[in-house]
Symmetry: D2
Subunit: 337 residues, 4 copies
C-alpha cells in the first residue's frame, strides 16, 4: 500500500502518524523529508484503506496488491477445476446449466429435466426459495420444490443447482443440491457467504447487480476463507442507466476475471438481458469472450412461467442455441457439456 500525505501536513501530524503506524504493528518506510509518500509493507488484506484515510494529514491511499488473497491468480497459477460428481468445470469445458426460474410442480420440473437431459444438459437449475422484489409475488415451493427438483434430476442423472437465500436454509438445501447458488441480491449477505464456506458443496456465486469486480472477488474470498475452495463465479448483468435491457451484461468482466482470478466464470444471459430474443447472441458472446459456462432459463411454456417468463426460452430455442454453441466451441478450445 502507498500512503500519500497532504502537501500541508504538519511535522507533528507526520510524527503522530508514524507513531500510530508503529502502534498498530505496521511495517513501513518513509521516503525522505520532502516526499509525500509512505510505503506500507504489512500483509495488505488485513489492513483497510479506511484506517489510513482517517488519519490527519493523509490525502490518499493506493493499494498495489489486490485485497483478496485466496481468490486472486498468481502469475504462474493454473485455473481451478471444480469437480461436481463426474463432471469437471474447467477451462476446456463450456458447461450448460439450464432449467426454469422456479420449480412450479412435479410435472413441470420432470418434463423440463427429461427434455434437457435428452439434449445432453447435465446441470438442472430451478429455484425453491425465490427472492422476489414484491411480497405479493410467487415465493417458491420451498422444501417441496427441493424435493421435486432432486427427484427429477436423479431420474435423468442430472446435477441440481439451486439457490439458498438464508444461512438458515443451508443445511436443508445441501441435502438436496449438488451446487449451492448464491443470488445477486445476496452477494454481500456475509452470513450466507460464511455459511456457504463452511459446507462442502460447490458454490455458484452470482455477481451483485451493483458490485464492482473487486467486491465480487471479495465476496468469493469470504467463501474461500471459510474453507470452501469450490467457487464458481457468475456474471449476470449490472445495473446501469440503460433500461432497454433488464440489466447490462458486463461481458468484459469475463476476460478480466480470467486475468485476476483462478476461479471459473459463468454468464447468465437470461437475467442480464431480460429478453428472450437476446439469449442466443449473448450466449455466443459469452463463449467467445472466454466464459466457462452458461446459466439459462428454459421453460416448457415460457408464457405460463410463474416468474421470469419474458426472459425464458422454450426447448426449441434452447436446442438451436446448443447447436450454435457446439459449432463455435472447438474454435475456442472448448467442449460443450
Amino acid at each position: 500500500m502507498i500512503v500519500v500525505l497532504k502537501k500541508n501536513i504538519t511535522a507533528p501530524e507526520k510524527a503522530q502518524l508514524v507513531e500510530k503506524l508503529k502502534d498498530v504493528g505496521c511495517e513501513f518506510q518513509v521516503f525522505g523529508d520532502g516526499e509525500p509518500i509512505i510505503r506500507i509493507y504489512s500483509k495488505q488484506p488485513l489492513m483497510s484503506r479506511d484506517f489510513f484515510l482517517s488519519q490527519p494529514g493523509v490525502q490518499d491511499v493506493l493499494r498495489i496488491t489486490p485485497p483478496y488473497e485466496l481468490a486472486r491468480r498468481n502469475s504462474a497459477q493454473q485455473e481451478s477445476i471444480i469437480q461436481v460428481g463426474d463432471i469437471a468445470i474447467e477451462p476446456k469445458h463450456f458447461v450448460m446449466i439450464a432449467g426454469p426460474c422456479a420449480v412450479e410442480s412435479e410435472e413441470q420440473i420432470h418434463g423440463i429435466a427429461q427434455t434437457l437431459s435428452r439434449m445432453g444438459v447435465r446441470f438442472l437449475r430451478g429455484g425453491a426459495f425465490k427472492p422476489r422484489t414484491s411480497p405479493y409475488a410467487f415465493q417458491g415451493l420451498e422444501e417441496e420444490g427441493l424435493r421435486l427438483i432432486r427427484k427429477a434430476a436423479d431420474q435423468f442423472q442430472m446435477k441440481v443447482v439451486t439457490e439458498a437465500v438464508s444461512s438458515a436454509h443451508i443445511p436443508l438445501i445441501v441435502e438436496y443440491a449438488d451446487v449451492l447458488q448464491i443470488g445477486t441480491r445476496n452477494m454481500q449477505n456475509f452470513q450466507l457467504l460464511k455459511s456457504a464456506g463452511k459446507q462442502k458443496k460447490p458454490v455458484l456465486l452470482k455477481r451483485g447487480m451493483n458490485a464492482t469486480i473487486d467486491e465480487f472477488l471479495l465476496a468469493a474470498e469470504y467463501v474461500l476463507q471459510a474453507g470452501n475452495s469450490q467457487v464458481i463465479l457468475c456474471e449476470r448483468g449490472i445495473r446501469t442507466f440503460e433500461k432497454a435491457t433488464r440489466n447490462t451484461l458486463d461481458i468484459s468482466a469475463v476476460p478480466l476475471i480470467k486475468e485476476l482470478s483462478h476461479l471459473p466464470i459463468f454468464v447468465d444471459p437470461s437475467h442480464a438481458s431480460g429478453k428472450r430474443s437476446l439469449i442466443l447472441p449473448l450466449s455466443r458472446a459469452a463463449l467467445a469472450a472466454g466464459a466457462d459456462g452458461l446459466l439459462i432459463e428454459v421453460h416448457h411454456q415460457a408464457e405460463f412461467a410463474k416468474s421470469d417468463g419474458p426472459q425464458s426460452i422454450n426447448f426449441q430455442a434452447f436446442d438451436a442455441l446448443l447447436g450454435s454453441l457446439k459449432e463455435l466451441a472447438p474454435l475456442l478450445g472448448k467442449t460443450i457439456l
Copy 2:
C-alpha cells in the same frame, strides 16, 4: 394495469391471450378491435408485469397504480408517527441518531453516549454485527457489542439503534435494541425483512445502494405486510459513476418519498458522502429538503475508529452541526430532537 399489444398480434394470439386472462381470474376490458390496449382491473399488487410481458403478442405493460399497497400514501392520508418509547418520530420533529459505526469497547461507547446525551441526542447508534466488504475487516463484537451499547444507552436514557444482518440474529437483537436497523446490503434480504416484520420493534430500513425508490418501498412493504407498521426509511446514497464521494446522496428521494408514502424518511450523510467535510452541508440540505431526521457517525477519536473513520466526525464537529440545524429547523416547521 394497461397491456399494450404488438401491432402485428394475430387473431389467434389475441384470442389465446383473452382466454388466459380469464383462466387466471383476471378482470379486464378489451378496447375495440383495432385498439392495441387491454385494461386490467384486478388488484394490481397481486399481478406482475412479467406475467403479461411473457405472453405472445404483448409489447408492453404500464402500471397505473404503485405496486406497494401498504407503504403508499393515499391522497388524504396523514404521515405515520413512529413511537419509540417517549419519543415520536413525526413530521414536526427532526430526530438525530448518532454514534459510532461500530461498538468497539465499553469505554468507547460509554464515552460517546455520555457526550451525545449531554448534547441532547436521544438515539444512540452503533453496530455489533458489521457487514464488511472484506472478510479480513473488523466484523464487530457481536453479542458483547449489543450488551455494551444497551448498557451505555440505559445509563444516559438513550434509545438503541443497531443493525441485524441475518434473520437468525433477530431474537437476540430485539432483546437489546429499541430500533432494528436493516442495512443497505440487506434491503433485499427478504428473509430478514419478513422476520423484521414479525417482531414488534420499529425498523429503520436503509435504501439499497442500487435500489430504485419503487424497490425501496416494496422492501418496506415486506415488513408492513408481515405485520409491523413501524417502518422508518433512510436514504443513504446510491451507487453511480461518480467516485469523488463514496456514494451519491439522492436528496430528491426525500421529497419524492414524502409524496409517495406515509412513512418517515431519514438521511445518512455519513455513508452517502464518505467524507467528514461534507457532513455539515449535507445535513443542512437533508433538513431543508424535508427529511425527518439524520443518522450520523460520530466517534470520539475518528482517526482511531475501527471502521468508517474517514466519514466519522468528532464531538466538536457534531456540536457545530447541531447548532446549525437548531437555527434552521424552526423555519422548516421542525424541532430538533
Copy 3:
C-alpha cells in the same frame, strides 16, 4: 401514445385537456367515463411526452411506437447497406476499421497504413482533431493530420475514417475523409449531426457514453432526417459504476439495435475496455453477438502513442486477432473485410 389520467382528475381538468388536444390538432379517443386512458393517434414523432406530462390531471404517458421514424426497422425490412467506394458494409461482411488513436506524423501513419493494408484491412482510422478531457493533452495535428492520413490511405488503397468535432470543420474533413466519424462526446451535438446529415459521406456515429439506445437512434435520426441515409452506428461502452474497465461494453446493444433498426452496428472494444488485454476476447464477443464490424486502435509502438496508449494493440496482437476472427466468421455467416 397512451395518456394515463390521474385518479383524481376533475371534470373541468378533463374537459380542459380535451379542449387543448383539439387546439393542437391532435387526433385522439377518450375511453369511457371511468377509464383513465386517452389514446393519441397523431403521428407520434411530432408529439413529445413532455407536452402531455405537463397538462394538469395527467399521470403518465406511454409511447407505443418508437420516437424515431427513419432509423427504425419495419417488420419486413432489410438491413441497410452502406457503400464506401467498392466496399459494402452489409450483413454478410464483418468490417475492420483500424489505426492509431491520433495521426502523429507522416512516418507513423504511413507505417501503420502499410502494415494494416498488408494484413487486408481496408479502412484506416486516425484522428486529426482530438476531443481531449484536458486542455493540456495533445489536441491533434488538425488539417496537417488530415492530409497525412489521406496520403497514407491513398498509397495503400485504403479508406479514411476520421472524426469531426465541430460543424465548422465538416467541409474540410469531407475533403479528406471517406467516412466521417462523430465521437461519443458529440453524439448529442445536434448542430454537428445536422451538418453531417447535409453532406454526402457516410457517417460513423458513436454512442454517447451516457446515451440510452433510444437516444442513440434519435441521434441517428438527426442525420437521416437531414438527408443522409448512410449512417453506421458504433457501440463503444457506456459509463457505469464499474471502474475496472474504462467503460462498460454494452454488448446487448448489438443484437437489440439489430432488432430495432436497419442500420449497421459496429463495436469499438478499445474505448469500451481501455485495456489491451481485453481487445481480443471482446472482439470475438462482438462478432459472436452479431456486430457488423470493429473499430480498433492499433499503433506500431503503443507505448509511445500520444494518446490512448494503454488500449492500443501492436501489429502482432492485431494479426492474432484477425486470425481468430477469420476462423469464427464463417460460422456466423460473415466474411471478414
Copy 4:
C-alpha cells in the same frame, strides 16, 4: 504523480522506462531497487496518466495533485467573484436565474420578465437555440429568440442568460447575452469551450450529465486556459439507474466543488428533478448545502410550454419559493439576489 511498477517488471523493462522518462524530459526519482515506485515531479497537468500506463512494466499511476491548475483552489485562496454589470456573483449572495426553458414569443418572454423583475429577479434565462433529443421537437426561435429576450430584459433592467450550442453561434449570442450558457450535452464540446474562453462575457457551465467532478473542472479549465476567468459552474443532476426523477441531483457536488475550486457553483433543480413538485425542497437544499445560486424554469402557463413543461413552475410557486429562500438565507450567511 506516483508510478507503480508491476511486481514482475524485468530489469530491461525498467531500464527502458527510465530511458524513456529522460527522453520526454521528465524529472523523476526511482526509489530503491526493490521498491515498485517512481515519483514524477514534472508539472503534472502536462503529463497524462495514459502515457505512463501504456509503458511495459507499469501497473498503476496515482495523481497527487489535481489535473486542473487554474480551476483549483489553493489553500489560502478566496472564492472568485464574477461581476455581471452591477451584480456580483459572490459567496455572500444567492443569485436567482429564472425564466422559461425556451423563448417562445414576444408576449411570453415579456410577460415572464415583467413578473420576475417585480419579484426582484435580476437574471432572465431563456433558450433561443435548443438542444433537443429528437429532431422533431421545437428547436428554438434562434436569432429572433435572442432579440426578444434581450428586449424583454432591457425593459426590466434584467441580465440575459442564454445558451450557445455551437462555437459558430458565439459571436451572435455574445451580442445579445450577458452570460453565455454552455449546456450539459456540450460540457465536453471542446471547440465550444475554447471559443467561450476567447470572448469576454461570463460563462455559465453546466455539468455534463455523465461527467465526474474532475471532468467538470477540466471543462472549466478549458475556458479559463483560453483566457476567460469568469466561469460559473452549475450542477444539474447526473444520470443514474434511478428513473423516478429525470436525473439525480448530486447535492454533494456543491460543497465538494467549494473545497476543490474557487469558482461559484449554482444548482438547477428543474433539470435535476424534472418534476414541479420537487423544485421547492431541492432549492432549499441547494441553499442549505452552500450553493451560490439557482437556475429555475418558470413559465406563465407551464402546461402550454413548448419544452420542459413538466418541470416548469408558475409564478405563484416561484413566489412561494423565493419567500422560503429569503427566510433561510440569512442563517446561511447569504442574501437572495
